[in-house]
Amino acid sequence: MEAPVLWPWVLYCVAVIAVAVGMVLVSYVLGERHRGKASGDPYESGIVSTGSARLRMSVKFYLVAVFFVVFDLESAFIFTWAICVRQAGWAGYVEILVFIAVLVAALAYLWREGALDWGAGTRGKGSGIRDQGIRD
């Protein structure tokens, strides 16, 4: 397959960015302006806000980020196999089976450790992450 022509894509990018910038600019120009007694406060359903929103978050979100990096990186390897599955043949198939088996083993481990359970569940008892005081 010959290399695709790329300049229309560049043109498209410029057009898309122009649309986005245009929308922001036009609404800035057309929008009304006002200043009320409480317009400088964060919206919290009518309750006066205390403290900023720079809070400490549940460590669960960091776990998800780490899992994403691990699994998405491994799926990138699977992508390269998928594109050449016929050329790689049965030998490649066996290799990817081993690879996926390792992946599944990792998933099973995380599952058993309770890393995939969200919140302070009490299901199962183990020496997992859940029981070492890291909870939602």
């Binding site: 695709p4 894509w9 900023s52 720079r54 998800v64 899992f67 994403f68 998405d72 998928a82 599944v104």
Partner: protein, 317 residues
Amino acid sequence: MSEAIRAILTVVVVLLAVLTVAGGLVWVERRLLALWQDRYGPNRVGPFGVLQVLADMIKLFTKEDWVPPFADRAVFILAPAIMVTTSLLSFAVVAFAPRIVVADLNIGLLYFLAMSSLGVYGVVLAGWSSDNKYSLLGGLRAAGQMLSYEVFMGLSLMGVVMLAGSFNLSAIVEAQRRIWFFIPQILGLVIFAVAGLAETRRIPFDLPEAENELVAGYHAEYSGMKFGMFFLGEYVGITLISAMIVSLFFGGWLGPWLPPLAWFVLKTVVVIAGFILVRAALPRPRYDQLMALGWKVMLPLALLNLVVTGGVVLART
């Protein structure tokens, strides 16, 4: 017609068409939801309320363009722009008909996955920069949900890639001349549709903006057209996922009698209506159920689909 003019026309028409469809979808969705819920929906502005979109646009553009004094100004303005840009950019690789495509990249599918990953930034930065507790929670939830579903979204499409032997969307459509891929890849289709719903954060996966707990989630502090841009991003996103489902699983532009473009549009409209029906029919799960579904059900299923498809493809060659 020279190649250059043709390419420029394609760029302009694709962009305008996508923006129009995404805008029109607001009206279509509200009318369809109303139909399924036994009410009228917007029917006052223009015939059947079609001009509602225009009225909404005028309203959004003339509302106060509010940047809260406590927000991180630059990021706050950048976030909705990222949202719109990434979802629109994905359309560059969608093949609407033979040769009607902005950039016929041979890594089209990877490009689409990359752009949908970048979309996470729009939501997360919006939630973070607002410096509002609702927004922060919404942004984090969105990040967790989109990252989790991103993983098997790519994997679910690899069955199609194996059958077609290409990442190029035109090639994938052409490979479906004999059989549309939703028959051998029904599992892949289901997984991709679920992942697509989660990526566009629509009901039943709209936990980042669950109204009854987070008010509006990551865009709680947004107003005017910046708020509108998040909606535009969502509707462009749903159009994109539908167009991808049609290209990858339902034979894209292939079909008898009608011209290719007509088939593509027709199929896409049906899939979009299906997504709206899902919204009308399903309730919202809890966040832990959502994450459990992603990691414990969808990811293993996607891997299983991969292994089985690989074996079948090899056995048949």
